[in-house]
């Protein structure tokens, strides 16, 4: 069919009209991805979606902070192996990949309209939403301990000011003063974390020459991650300083009095000048607001894609998700983020997708140059993300191997920070 002059003119006019449109309106033609949460899960997802789609997608990353202090390695800061600056990063480099970082708190999700509302009054539209909100604490889970008490007895299970507060209190201790930690129940962020933290507490006190201070761990769990390794390490490096109490021995936590520095259990009252109370946890608040959480407060996902089971346009990854055999760790979040990125790009640009695969390694430092690790490879099954093969450090390993393991963790940290924030 031949174009009439009139038709030709219309086409040309429309094209010229498109070119004359400002960039931000033209950009509205691009499919939109909104990522909430700028940690190792969310920032990695935003980064990979943007950089691998080469401008085809509009990617917005929402995080309420200006800078991000990593919870991973925060124990090493407590132990004076890292500075606060060493473990604090920002998202400025992500702009070069095309990620638009918005500093605001997301407080609403309308899944029908596919919008996110922010506390600054703005509304963001999405074609795909990625939630990586980490954890929130269950404030009613430890009797006598409330959110306000975290200013006196920090949990420091979300890094930043809480970590600095804990460090101040640790450094202010005198010989003869005790530390009482209440460890969290499963499932929680970073399974070996509390015990690495205790190791760092002990390291600081030992370095100062303290001989009369004790560290009590009151644990709701019967066993804990890398238990044999930590107990061997505490015996070797900090003999007599660390006492771990499982539920069979302490009989249950009756009450915490943060101001008085007391943790009352059925067995006894444990007193400390420093209380580190780590409550039970759940997915970060936006997950519940979005309506994708289960009755335990975590988000069930499709193992092959990390899509939330409640809404196929919403992906949830990292600590907030129910990720089967994978622990809640930064390594896991970063690993899951790549599956999310691949799947989102596949959805929105038709790019190639491949079977999901996941991995995790968790390193813990027990004393200077004494590092241990545990990890696995995973793949999706019908039921869950399942581990395929695992490895763990062994008791009685050589000092050389433990030193190598610690150095490997330094390399990993440099790598994951580059992979997430550069």
């Amino acid at each position: 069919m031949r174009l009439t002059r009139r038709q030709f003119g219309l086409y040309m006019g429309a094209a010229a009209g498109t070119l004359a449109m400002p960039a931000y309106l033209r950009a509205q033609d691009k499919p939109r991805v909104v990522v909430i949460g700028g940690g190792p899960g969310g920032a990695t997802a935003a980064r990979y979606i943007a950089k691998d789609s080469a401008g085809a997608l509009d990617v917005t990353l929402v995080d309420a902070s200006e800078r991000f202090t990593t919870c991973f390695f925060s124990n090493l800061y407590l132990g004076d192996f890292q500075s606060f600056d060493d473990i604090t990063h920002d998202w400025s480099a992500l702009a070069a990949h095309g990620v638009n970082k918005v500093t605001a708190y997301a407080n609403g999700v309308d899944r029908d309209a596919r919008t996110v509302t922010l506390d600054n009054g703005d509304t963001l539209s999405y074609d795909r939403l990625v939630l990586a909100p980490g954890i929130d604490l269950k404030w009613d889970s430890v009797p006598g301990y409330s959110e306000a008490d975290a200013e006196i007895a920090p949990h420091a299970w979300k890094a930043g000011p809480q970590t600095q507060l804990l460090k101040e209190k640790l450094d202010a201790l005198e010989d003869g003063q005790n530390i009482v930690m209440v460890a969290p129940p499963n499932p929680y962020r970073c399974p070996p974390g509390p015990y690495e933290r205790v190791s760092m507490f002990a390291h600081v006190l030992k370095k100062k020459g303290f001989t009369n201070s004790k560290i009590f761990i009151i644990d709701p769990k019967e066993t804990f991650s890398k238990q044999g390794l930590f107990q061997e390490g505490w015996e070797r490096h900090y003999p007599g300083m660390v006492e771990w109490y499982g539920p069979d021995v302490h009989g249950g936590i009756k009450s915490v009095d943060a101001a008085a520095g007391k943790v009352e259990t059925d067995l006894d009252v444990f007193e400390g000048a420093l209380l580190n109370i780590i409550p039970a946890q759940k997915a970060g608040a936006i997950a519940e607001i979005a309506g994708v959480t289960n009755e335990n407060g975590w988000v069930p996902i499709d193992p092959a894609s990390m899509r939330s089971k409640a809404d196929e346009n919403i992906f949830v990854l990292g600590d907030a998700s129910v990720a089967g055999d994978m622990p809640k760790s930064a390594f896991s979040a970063n690993s899951q983020a790549k599956v999310v990125a691949m799947t989102v790009r596949g959805d929105l640009t038709g790019s190639a997708t491949f079977p999901a695969r996941y991995a995790n390694t968790c390193w813990s430092l027990i004393e200077t140059d004494d590092g241990v690790k545990v990890g696995a490879q995973y793949e999706p099954t019908e039921e869950k993300i399942a581990s395929v093969s695992t490895f763990i450090s062994q008791t009685g390993e050589s000092d050389d191997l433990r030193k190598e393991t610690y150095e490997e963790s330094l390399g990993w940290y440099a790598g994951i920070i580059e992979d997430t924030y550069s």
Binding site: N334, A341, F391, S409, G411, G415, I416
Partner: protein, 125 residues
């Protein structure tokens, strides 16, 4: 360069180790002889790699092996020649090189996946 040895002397030493240790494991010597490793590597190098798959799989490596170069305890793999790369993974997969993380990672990589990864990292800056 990370200098992983690929000379005949190294292979001969490995073969000796495994012939000795294979005394109690009759099947092992055959599976892990230097000749078999060499054959495995050649076979993988002959596979025509899928670059998109290599890029996807390579994402998993990026967490530790950062793009900008070596870091404490973790060698650089960006820019590693394909034959070095394939040999390393084949040897980890056969349990010939130490490191739990790498052995476990390599154990679940099939030949076409190693080929894709090798091509991806050889081309990386």
């Amino acid at each position: 360069m990370i200098g992983w040895p690929t000379t005949g002397r190294y292979r001969a030493w490995l073969t000796a180790c495994f012939v000795l240790s294979a005394a109690g494991h009759p099947g092992m010597a055959g599976q892990t002889s230097a000749d078999n490793i060499e054959a495995e590597v050649e076979a993988i190098l002959a596979i025509s790699a899928d670059p998109a798959y290599g890029a996807y799989l390579g994402g998993e490596c990026a967490t530790c092996h950062r793009a900008s170069g070596a870091a404490p305890g973790i060698p650089q793999i960006a820019g590693l020649p394909r034959d070095h790369f394939v040999l390393a993974l084949v040897e980890y997969r056969a349990g010939l090189r130490d490191n739990d993380v790498m052995r476990t990672t390599a154990a679940r990589l099939k030949d076409d996946e190693i080929a894709a990864l090798a091509a991806h990292f050889a081309a990386a800056d």
